[in-house]
């Protein structure tokens, strides 16, 4: 393999290269038609449908929220009864957490990370396809059951014993438990792929200290997923579902089971989950600020250290969800300290972004406005979070609308503002066209107003004694006006999201042509075409700084060096070393296959069947075994892979 410096890609293509390029096109092209749709392993194709699917669940879960807000707009409204209301908020919360916030961040990463590290595709591309199908099945399961009036109704954290067989007969809690199974499998495989991609397929020269901050955020998030998600998967799939299916007694207090065990397992996942959602958001903000302030993010080492520290400390906070349970005083002190501590790294990152803007040459495009909105909104959520680290104060506001306000500020501020900003930033990369800036400004303004109007009054409602998850309240409690205000805010959020959808649908066809690099971006994805070719880069780029496309701050680099030597007659990616990204070997990628689809379908049968009968595991795993055999069966597409010489050869 040789490393060489060449002119930018477009100029480097000579006549000889035309043949190689055509071959590359042919080798990486998906099959045509529906078959191609089912078999593709292109990270971009899968990420696109992943993002769109996640946004569909977002919209449906958002509709649930609108219905809830209409119900609560006045005291003693009769729009929905308690049965429907409990399903509404359970499905809203479960979908937003399990089907939107985490998956959409992973989906964006599945699209962006291979491009940002200069790879041809994600690692484990078939697993990637499999993960999407699992995610899709989980979402369809949850929403289908909701629309069939058998949606889960025990809250997104499904506390036992309420979600146990004694107090929730029927299948509603089973649907919830298996939905978790699907999404956790999808989340775990995506984390594994992203880790392998980040660790082993970075462009030559992209040592760890030259990795874009967004990639760092995904690295930290993926590691967190690896440790956090098994806790809830075990608690729900293995323990709760078994309690309900085959009458084990993990959580049944009448038989010596422990209801608090569930809370520990759930929050050991549930608290890191919050950071798993918004650390990628921090990565988005770094990318947006860097691009639009036209300056490297200030304090790179501090930013990285903050992300890593947040990832670690996030695992030491879970008990602050359980301050109202019998926990020893000393234990509470520990979790208070950790909950206070975690504010430091996030605070420092916010200071670094402000410094970056201060010293940069900012352009206030819509994406940048979302990044600024993030700081303005998220900081409120962060501060109320620190307040709740105090046991004494938390016991007043725990499980009230104050907490609802707090975490919506965190999630809308920390996930949605950065995510919308990221879509405005990268939409031209996804589609080749720019989103409309005028609509974008309406979008960000209305979203900002709606968020504050909907959620700020909830702080007061909580302090005035309004608990969470009540489907109605008596008029004499005096909560009506603030609730009405919150409902108006929710409606404004709805309008702003609608504007976003209109913007995306219109710009996809009629938006201004973007070119490859409309923002003069700093990172490698902007060296690819818009939208990128199926193989991402004609030649693997070489990375010589943390902003490889810039020579200084915001100045475009003269040329992007590349390495050549990857095969064009088959799918091949460059594997580099973990720390310094020195080229190590060439890895042959698998061909497109429908095996992941069948694997997911058989597991879908297994876990959905397991809602009704334990035999589903026996039959389903047998079928999945067959699907896996097809998956792993050697094809012999490439004779040179054979270890032994074939007959007739000597």
């Amino acid at each position: 393999m040789t490393t060489e410096t060449s002119a930018p890609v477009a100029e480097a293509i000579g006549s000889d290269d035309d043949a190689a390029l055509a071959e590359l096109e042919r080798v990486w092209r998906p099959r045509p038609g529906l078959r191609g749709w089912l078999t593709t392993t292109d990270h971009k194709a899968i990420a696109r449908r992943y993002v769109v699917t996640a946004f569909v669940w977002f919209a449906l879960a958002g509709l649930n929220a609108v219905v809830m807000r209409l119900q609560l707009a006045q005291p003693e409204r009769g729009l929905v009864g308690p049965d429907r209301y409990n399903q509404l908020f359970t499905v809203h919360g479960s979908a937003m957490m399990f089907l939107f916030a985490v998956p959409v961040m992973q989906a964006m990463a599945i699209y962006l990370v291979p491009l940002l590290v200069g790879a041809r595709n994600i690692s484990y591309p078939r697993l990637n396809a499999f993960g999407y199908w699992m995610f899709l099945i989980g979402g369809v399961l949850l929403f289908a059951s909701f629309y069939l009036n058998m949606g889960p109704d025990t809250g997104w954290f499904a506390y036992v014993p309420l979600s146990g067989p004694q107090y929730t007969p029927g299948k509603r809690a089973d649907v919830w438990a298996q939905m978790v199974t699907f999404t956790e499998i999808a989340g775990l495989v995506a984390a594994v792929e992203l880790l392998a991609t980040i660790f082993k397929t970075r462009a030559p020269g992209m040592s760890l200290d030259r990795m874009p901050l967004y990639v760092w955020s995904i690295l930290v998030t993926s590691l967190m997923i690896l440790f956090a998600l098994p806790a809830v998967a075990i608690a729900s799939t293995l323990m709760l579902a078994m309690d309900r299916l085959v009458a084990t007694h993990f959580f049944n207090p009448a038989e010596g089971g422990d209801p608090l065990l569930w809370q520990h397992l759930f929050w050991f996942f549930g608290h890191p989950e919050v950071y798993i959602m918004f650390i990628p958001g921090l990565g988005f903000v770094s990318s947006i600020v860097e691009t639009f302030a036209r300056r490297r993010v200030f304090g790179y080492p501090v930013m990285v250290a903050s992300l890593v520290l947040t990832g670690f400390v996030a695992f030491g906070l879970w008990v602050h969800h359980m301050f109202a349970t019998p926990i020893p005083q000393l234990g509470r002190g520990f979790f208070t300290a950790a909950s206070v501590l975690i504010a430091i790294p996030t605070g420092v990152q916010i200071f670094c972004w402000i410094a970056t803007i201060w010293s940069g040459r900012p352009r206030f495009a819509t994406a940048m406005l979302f990044a600024i909105g993030f700081i303005v909104v998220f900081t409120i959520g962060g501060i109320t979070g620190v307040m709740q680290a105090s046991v004494a104060f938390d016991l007043q506001v725990h499980d009230t609308f104050f907490v609802v306000a707090h975490f919506h500020y965190v999630i809308l501020g920390g996930v949605l503002f950065p995510l919308f900003g990221a879509v405005y930033l990268w939409f031209p990369k996804f589609t080749g066209r720019l989103l409309d800036e005028r609509l974008g400004r309406w979008h960000v303004a209305l979203f900002f107003i709606g968020t504050n109007l909907a959620f700020f009054p909830m702080h007061l409602l909580g302090l005035q004694g309004m608990p969470r998850r009540i489907y109605t309240y008596r008029p004499e409690l005096g909560w009506g006006d603030l609730n009405l205000l919150a409902t108006v805010g929710a409606a404004i959020i709805g309008v702003s999201v609608l504007l976003f959808v209109v913007n995306v649908l219109r710009s996809r066809r009629h938006g201004a042509l973007a070119g490859d690099d409309p923002w003069q971006g700093s990172t490698l994805e902007w060296a690819a075409t818009s939208p990128p070719a199926t193989y991402n880069f004609r030649d693997t780029p070489v990375c010589r700084s943390v902003t490889p496309l810039w020579s200084g701050d915001g100045e475009p680099a003269e040329a992007l060096p590349v390495v050549t030597g990857l095969a064009t007659h088959r799918r091949q990616i460059l594997v580099t070393t973990v720390l310094d990204a020195v080229p190590d070997n060439r890895h042959n990628h698998p061909a497109d296959t429908s095996a992941p689809f069948w694997m997911a379908a058989t597991l879908g049968v297994t876990f959905i069947g397991a809602i009704f009968t334990p035999w589903a595991y026996v039959i389903g795993f047998a079928l999945a075994g067959i699907a896996f055999a097809i998956w792993a069966w050697p094809r012999g597409d490439h004779p040179e892979d054979a270890v032994l010489p074939r007959r007739g050869e000597s």
């Binding site: 049965d83 302030a293 410094a355 700081i375 302090l463």
Partner: protein, 336 residues
Amino acid sequence: MSARPLLLGCVALAGCGGARNQSALAPEGPVAGEVASLWWFALAVATAVYLATVGALAWAAWRARRRAARGEATDPARDHRRMTVAVSVGGALTVVILLGFFVRDLAAARALRIPVTRDHVKIRVTGHQWWWSIEYPHPDPSQRVTDANELHVPTGIPVLVEVTSHDVIHSLWAPNLAGKKDLIPRYVDTLWFQVDRPGVYGAQCAEFCGHQHAKMALPVVAHAPRDYAGWLARARRPAAEPSDSMARRGREIFLSGPCALCHAITGTPAGSRVGPELTHLASRRTLAAGTLPNGKGNLAAWILDPQRIKPGTAMPATALPPADLEALLAYLGGLQ
């Protein structure tokens, strides 16, 4: 604290003060008072920190914009030095402020320790889907009182409420008096508070507990110590004897009909603990755990069709001929 008028101003502006008798912002005793003062302290610090952060952001954006508009030359080395100082100072201030908050919180935690060594009153509250069973213990079993859906406490003395649950997890929260405590099956925990002034304060279940989580409230009635003793003495008495023939017929209907399968009335054969104790039903302020004001009409509506008022409640509809209903209401209405 300086933020208090500010926030109260916001509240007044919105024209929505909320009821004062179920609010953490209107403490009625030392426990809630300590937490409220912690809150005003935290709010003041938080407001300052927030304004400083957003102010810095606005200033940074304005400065960069002005600099670009004027085409001023930049001095990257100088900028870098200044940013390093600013971020370091910001980080250090963050640490100091958080440490201050942590210490303030530890002080609050110290002040809120359960005063087991002082004179206190002990009461036991057990959560049920969706009502509260309340026991006033006494060394002499004949003096123990079991009641439901209304918590009576004396003022001026710490009240230790032992909480547990009969079924799923509930949480007892009287915002004017103290933070909440979860009621968990198999666990007994203690919530404590002290009330300064006699009055009726709202409490509500704060942990989602199923269908009627919304309608699981608990009026907390605080009496001056002497009145409390009087109330307890009355509560210890068995149910009042029916005063007329109509009420006597009502008792027959109660005892021979479905009512007695679930409800207990001391002094009668009815002793089931499935539903709330009814011995002094007529003296309570509300019906069905704070769902309806107590009164003849509401009681009739509740007996005839509780599922309309509180869908999902364990109480079934009871079809009674009007004359029987009237008699039953006469009997229950006499259970002072």
